[in-house]
């Protein structure tokens, strides 16, 4: 079995309302579209107090399917534009995708 995957799916968890920023950032480096899911974060109250941050529980998860060779660029762009230091406080990670159907060639 080979370990090369043709696509990767990137999940970006971000404060509610910032999904457009995520897509803008991802599109700049070649992503075409994404899907936004509403979600709710659960940070520990103690940790919040200790680190002096408030975690907005309203989140959005942006799911972006990208060709594997564009994954690094997209993750990097997300880290720079909507990372934890930005108001969106986004985190992003990718999962390998072994088969895809339904993608329209562009």
């Amino acid at each position: 079995m080979s370990n090369t995957f043709s696509h990767e799916v990137i999940f970006c968890i971000i404060n509610s309302g910032f999904s457009e920023n995520v897509m803008d950032s991802a599109k700049k480096v070649g992503a075409t579209g994404g899907t936004v899911i509403n979600a709710r974060g659960t940070a520990g109250k103690d940790a919040e107090k200790f680190f002096g941050v408030t975690v907005d529980p309203e989140k959005e998860i942006v799911m972006i399917l990208v060709p594997a060779d564009k994954k690094d660029d997209v993750l990097h762009a997300l880290y720079k534009d909507v990372g934890l230091d930005s108001p969106g406080q986004g985190i992003a990670f990718s999962l390998p995708v072994d088969s895809v159907v339904g993608l329209t060639e562009q």
Binding site: H7, M23, G34, T35, V36, I37, L65, S99, V100, G102
Partner: protein
């Protein structure tokens, strides 16, 4: 690598090999009004566990027309499927995406690296033998 299918019609039940098939997470994104249809479709392929989540597409309207998609309101279906069923399921989905009116969507699978609990594994893979054997012991 050649593996014998675990659900082959074996003549003797006692010697039926109990393979441990890997699991995959199937993620299907479709229009909201077609979600029910796809959930029902997937259920026919030994899929015991599915979660349906409401979502929105991000493509702008001119792009939607270009791709033949019309709706921004989407539904994401997360289903746990068995590895040996993945190809079949993806084929069926591809077929439905092109043949069902308004049923365009995308689907992809990603490997699940681990599962804890024999019953949970049995449930997710619809492998009744695993659960039965565990009960006998």
């Amino acid at each position: 690598m050649k593996l014998k299918p675990i659900f082959s019609k074996s003549k003797s039940k006692k010697t039926a090999p109990v393979g441990h098939k890997k699991l995959k997470l199937l993620i299907t994104v479709v229009n909201r009004n077609k979600a029910e249809f796809f959930v029902d479709l997937l259920q026919g392929y030994e899929v015991n566990f599915q979660i349906r989540v409401l979502a929105n597409g991000t493509a702008k309207s001119e792009m939607l027309h270009l791709l033949g998609l019309e709706d921004e309101e989407k539904c994401v279906i997360f289903s746990v499927i068995r590895e040996d069923k993945a190809d079949e399921i993806l084929h069926v989905l591809q077929d439905k995406f092109s043949s069902v009116r308004g049923g365009k969507g995308i689907a992809f699978t990603t490997p699940l690296s681990s599962v804890i609990g024999v019953t949970v594994y049995g449930f997710l893979s619809n492998n009744k033998t695993v659960v039965k054997e565990n009960k006998d012991e």
